[in-house]
Amino acid sequence: MGEPRRRRRAEGIPDRAPLVPVAFAVVAVLLFAVPLAGLVWRAPWSSAWEVLRSQPARNALRLSLVTSLSATAVALAFGVPLAWVQARVEYPGKRLVRALTTLPMVLPPVVGGVALLLALGRRGIVGRELDRIGVHLPFTTAGAIVAEAFVAMPFLVLTLEAAFRSADRRLEDAARTLGAGRFAVFRRVTLPLVTPSLVAGTVLCWARALGEFGATITFAGNLQGTTQTLPLFVYIKLEGSNPDSAIVLSLVLLVVSVAVLLALRDRWLTAR
């Protein structure tokens, strides 16, 4: 009995780094680092500016900005109320709604695209009706926005719902006793309280929308200038004639991602 106990105690003392987990951790880090290093290494720095100025690349850049920002706006318009309702209103089926609105985070985006096509496509249940009133989503910029919002909105909703939940409700009570109605309380107390999470959730949502590939290409297609966003452009160019422009635009997306991470560093880069 005495022998094993002594050994266990010896293990508890961190006199030197244990080799096995460190080795695995190093491999894991390399798994992340090597591809990124490769991307930077292979970048055609001399022609980068030229690539960025070319018409197709500019179209893709512009389209990506338009669709991702629009998708973020859509997510804000509908996601903020959704997050608030989920945090503050009790109703039957709430868990189901939470599962439903979280699903796109784990669903393969291509499946989301197929589902969108079947529902909102020309012959889909809803799409048929939309078609009748002259609204066409598949293979349009609007469709790309819908696909991006579908995939990205949960990031905003989940972040914000947690914030609404943890905001001190008694501050809202205090505001009401001071004469503020429900909406004034929301605007002047609740929103300021959740602002850090609102910003984080919005940035996260936008980054996800910007990088969206699977749902967009499935639902909205790959039409230059209309639905060919940056990730689609990169994919096509890499397969085709001009891998250099794919690499340059990949770098652009990488820079954006790093910027997002830095913007949110207080949230994720600081161990709590």
């Binding site: 501050l171 205090a174 004469g179 004034a184 002047r188």
Partner: protein
């Protein structure tokens, strides 16, 4: 103007049912143990919780009356609330916290800020206008909270444990200021507290709540002199016994034991009150004039001001307050077997 309330609130497994009438210009302290319903009462008066039944009127205006379907939401009641942990808005500085109520009630920003600035000056924070709540000390924050509640000029001021979160020194400072500001506030004042000193210093009238009901109402002096619940007696350090008085001048206590009292007028159920200072503690059975003496064991010795409070378990158990010198002389420590004695004339008896 006055506040009248027939307040009934049904919660899960708890009912608050109290009737109140409080005149403008007076302060009523609501005291009672945790869970007595104090905070629920404040929330009902503020409109943060609707009544289940009854009626609340303020200066003739009905604020809440389920029977007629009238319910004014909090933002439409002329009520100011000071909360226990001040609940200042963390994203606003002191000035904008105080201006919040004025803005919400329709004043323009410059005007609201000017009035708020006056209030901050008045509570002694002329140099802290731009400080955020986290930069304020506990006492300063509670002063801002008071200014914020008073700035919109409410007709009813509710203070929910306004001093509870403060340390002892700050508490007496803020209490003194609070006394001054309450005196100059013309409306109805309701103060919820668990501290008997708050009630004694700040209130004209005390309402003792227990388990959702009013246990006793009176001036602080009346309540202290004739505590009717064990809880209040604990607070003022008084020994409170319930029992049955017989015509021979004895009181048979409900928890066991008999006290000989000087007042033989009363019969039937009574309260018997013994000041802890009237209880003497001895190592051996005392000889002399005390008509009540019984053995017990010391369970606790704790300082109260410059004296020591000695708890003795026996039949009945009592609290005695003795001088430190006495404790040293006869060696009173925990688990010592002692005798306690009380003179018959020191026992106050009043009907239960």
């Amino acid at each position: 103007m006055s506040l009248t309330g027939e307040v009934r609130v049904d919660l899960d497994g708890f009912t608050l049912a109290v009737a109140l009438r409080i005149e403008a210009g007076s302060t009523t302290a609501v005291v009672g143990p945790n869970g007595a319903g104090k905070t629920t009462l404040v929330r009902a008066l503020a409109g943060l919780r609707a009544l289940s039944a009854g009626r609340i009127t303020l200066g003739g205006t009905v604020l809440d009356e389920p029977a007629t379907g009238i319910y004014l939401p909090p933002e439409r009641r002329p009520v100011g609330v000071v909360f226990q942990d001040n609940l200042l808005f963390p994203h606003l500085d002191a000035l904008d916290n105080v201006a919040f109520g004025l803005r919400a009630r329709g004043r323009r920003r410059p005007e609201a800020r000017a009035i708020a600035a006056e209030w901050l000056d008045r509570v002694g924070l002329a140099d802290r206008h731009r400080a955020r709540p986290h930069e304020l000390s506990g006492g300063q924050a509670q002063r801002v909270a008071l200014a914020r509640a008073l700035a919109p000029d409410p007709a009813l001021l509710l203070l929910d444990e306004p001093l509870a979160a403060l340390d002892a020194t700050t508490r007496s400072d803020v209490r003194r200021d609070l006394r001054h500001h309450l005196a100059t506030f013309p409306g109805v004042r309701v103060l919820v507290t668990h501290d008997p000193v708050d009630a004694a210093v700040l209130a004209d009238q005390v309402v003792v709540l227990d388990q959702g009901r009013i246990d006793q109402t009176g001036t602080p002096e009346e309540i202290t002199a004739h505590p009717r619940s064990r809880w209040v007696a604990e607070l003022v350090g008084t020994n409170l016994f319930t029992g049955t008085a017989a015509s021979d001048g004895t009181v048979h206590l409900d928890g066991g034991g008999v006290l000989v009292v000087a007042d033989a007028q009363r019969q039937g159920p009574v309260f018997a009150v013994v000041s802890p200072r009237a209880v003497s503690v001895h190592r051996t059975r005392p000889e002399g004039s005390a008509r009540n003496a019984w053995p017990g064991r010391i369970t606790a010795v704790e300082p109260v001001g410059d004296r020591l409070r000695v708890r003795v378990a026996g039949t009945p158990s009592v609290v005695a307050e003795v001088t430190a010198a006495a404790v040293r002389e006869i060696g009173l420590t925990e688990d010592t077997n002692v005798w306690v004695a009380v003179k018959a004339t020191e026992i106050d008896v009043y009907p239960g």
